[in-house]
Symmetry: C2
Subunit: 222 residues, 2 copies
Amino acid sequence: MEIKVLKDILSANEQIAASNHQKLEEHGVFSVNLMASPGAGKTSLVLQTIRAVAGKTRVGVIEGDVSSSLDSELIAREDVPVIQINTGGECHLDASMVRNALENLPLADIDLLLVENVGNLICPAEFNIGEHLKVVISSVPEGDDKPFKYPTMFIIADAVVINKTDLLPHLQFDTARFTGAVQGINQKAPVFTLSCTTGDGLDSWTSWLLGRMETERAGGAA
Amino acid sequence: MEIKVLKDILSANEQIAASNHQKLEEHGVFSVNLMASPGAGKTSLVLQTIRAVAGKTRVGVIEGDVSSSLDSELIAREDVPVIQINTGGECHLDASMVRNALENLPLADIDLLLVENVGNLICPAEFNIGEHLKVVISSVPEGDDKPFKYPTMFIIADAVVINKTDLLPHLQFDTARFTGAVQGINQKAPVFTLSCTTGDGLDSWTSWLLGRMETERAGGAA
């Protein structure tokens, strides 16, 4: 019974996700679903990416949180369009929530839509929202065992970001162990190591992101 | 439809949780449900607590993870009884999983049962497992805004631990902001600041924990 209902929910979600995707395509908007544990640095990566691509592409943001508008207030200071979704207890964004947000964003003025999902390394992996790319952010203080413990998120990722490399001197974190674990379950996803605090490594990430966006626009081998 | 089924699940869970609680009481086992984001330091706190109370009380452990037995392997080295629950995708422990684990633990040899929940700051808050105490662990690198963003977990907590205080010199984390946010939604929960790496602050935590255990044994004003 429980499984049947869950399947129905996922199937309904897939239909809305496909509709979201079509809408984004029609407006020429490239969209990225950013997923991570609480506090891994999703908002920091959104902020740094906005600053890095300023003048090259027009960014819009959807902020997903269980509660509060703290993150969207930070984003709004960057003078980009932003919508806050408060899930009110739900542990992930679903396609329906994102559909509502899309109706309230100026899609004609957006080339790159960054969607910050709810802080959760498990549940968001189950729900497509119509995005072009799924990106997982992990951070050095969380430890190098996360791909072993939360494999689904790393299996479905189009890219993996290791954030907070500035803390490497203060922690035991084996980057090779982490990267090897990712590659063991996902051969396609590049792994970026960076620090949103110092800016180290951000160039590789933004170059890759803009490259994927151009490929998509040029006709789209995803 | 979805809500009705969820209510049924929660109601069934409550019944099993009550049965678990009764079983723990019958065996004189005091149980703690440890919840946190991935990488906040749940396993480290379990390890440090085992070492701190050694000779004073007999500890048993249930390790909950989506996948892998990495944590239970670490715990087993401490020579305490441990059971690993792999949820196989589920984002939380439920009472039924814990019931199965209890059947496989030597309860007569355990005074204090530490249950490490799945790394998730949202979903585990919805599921009682029959525990005596719910403890939330947050960590300095996650940021001082977590009680604002994930309020339910902090509302239901009997205690809050801020771990990784050794990283305070390297991060912007306002302990007063975090503690104030907790106290704004939860007047009963003490907030402990500690570092499982250096051991700083562990004494207050273990003293409080053993005190709660004694109170419960003495007749139990919870």
